[in-house]
Amino acid sequence: MSKSREFNIILNECLERMLDNGESLEQCLQDYPEYAGELKPLLDVVVATKKASAVEPHPEFRDRARYQFLSALREMEPQRSRGFFSWQPRWAITVAAVLIVLLAGSGTVFAAGDTMPDDFLYPIKLTTERVQMFFTFTTLGKAELNAKLADKRVDEIVRMADEGNSEKIELTALRLDSHLSGIADLAATGWEAGEATMAPEIEEAAVREGMPDVKFTLPGEEEVVEEEAPVAVAPPTPPPPAAVDEAQLMAERVSGANDVELETDRWSKLREAVRQDAVNQPARLRRLLETVSPSVRATLLQAISLSETSYEKALESLN
């Protein structure tokens, strides 16, 4: 065996001993004194890299993440067994919508409108909201609805805190997070769509100069759902009009510009509303800490922390 090959084997062995078994650099050098001179500078790099890689999550983040993970775990089971909109085909949602319209006549839906998470009719309230979301077709409309529903969730947390119901505080805080994450996602989508409209050539160039990195797939594994970057396809060029009525064209342009202005204005209003909520709603929850029973304090604190992060994320996305 050549000396360089032997050295490579020894280096690999030392790497494994240091990285996998936690042995020290000195232990390795002691075993191979004849290579110590060559090994040491390389193993010094290993030690330095290992040290620099040892970043620790902040304790506060660790707690927040664990809370969110455990909540997601708890949420999963009911969703698997009872989650209606998570698995039902679209026609089923339509049927539900029709039922809700019919039930509305009997007053059930109306009665459910003001229910709280511990009420019998509360699931109907949630279903009504989902149907409402389903039949809201624009990104902006959905974002606005999420903001409205987020306010409702805060009201519910306040009530559940007053009643000392930890479990419902936790669940409602997760629903609040879901609405605010919805705003963040929708705002990002709306913004990206706006950008693409304004400067498709920039996006195209970005795709061309995209990361050389590739996603890994494993044999026998279902692909984790990831959205691919959209491929820019040039729309078919419309045939030139036989005769253009300039006045009509101008009117259409003005109308189009008004629509854009109106939409921009609504996004601004939504941003302002969320900005105020991001300050007021967590503060409102925080004030409750002085009055609630000690048994719900910890849960309420976690709910506040989650709400602050979620509002911040929504606002960041809207900005």
């Binding site: 078994n21 990361m211 797939t217």
Partner: protein, 205 residues
Amino acid sequence: MHGVTPHCWLNLVLANGGCQVQEEESLVRQAIQGDQMAFSRLYEEYFDKIYRYIAVRVGDRIEAEDMTQQVFLKAVKSISSFKWKGVPFSAWLFRIAHNQVVDYLRKRKKQPATLFDESLVTSNSNPQLMAERNLDVEQLKIATKRLTEAQREVISLRFAGGLSVAQVAKIMGRSQGAVKALQHSAIVALRKILSVGNDEQVQRI
């Protein structure tokens, strides 16, 4: 607990790793069946590793925190689709993390330049250790920019993710020999880059 084979915990490191794999497989099976306790133990086992891996790849604490949470939320949603066919759970989980990182970097539309952002250095009560670490951060931040993508991935998975060569090989879809070679070349490259950097520093002084 040495020599205890019928029941060994996930965090018990055994020389042959056999018990750990067996225990992990059992936990994963339970987690797929909806055992929250089992899933929680897997979470505790991998949380820090996933965070470190992402943090080292993206170099931004806030993003790393957000993406780490997303990885585990995706894992919760997708665990029912996981099939134990010789593919370890770690490979599956790190693949989710890797894909998150790829998406993030693609969106940022620039190279993953900052492997070791100073904002990632956590507060430490030992000032000497902090000084040493900051020095490393500064040097390595520059040095790792010049590694190839594959070398950077191996370094991130091995050093930050704390994974074995075999696990890295599964995640990257390469042979163990290829991973060892990449690791070796990355260390040699880092050594060269760092020594040149030091020489330049000395010359400037």
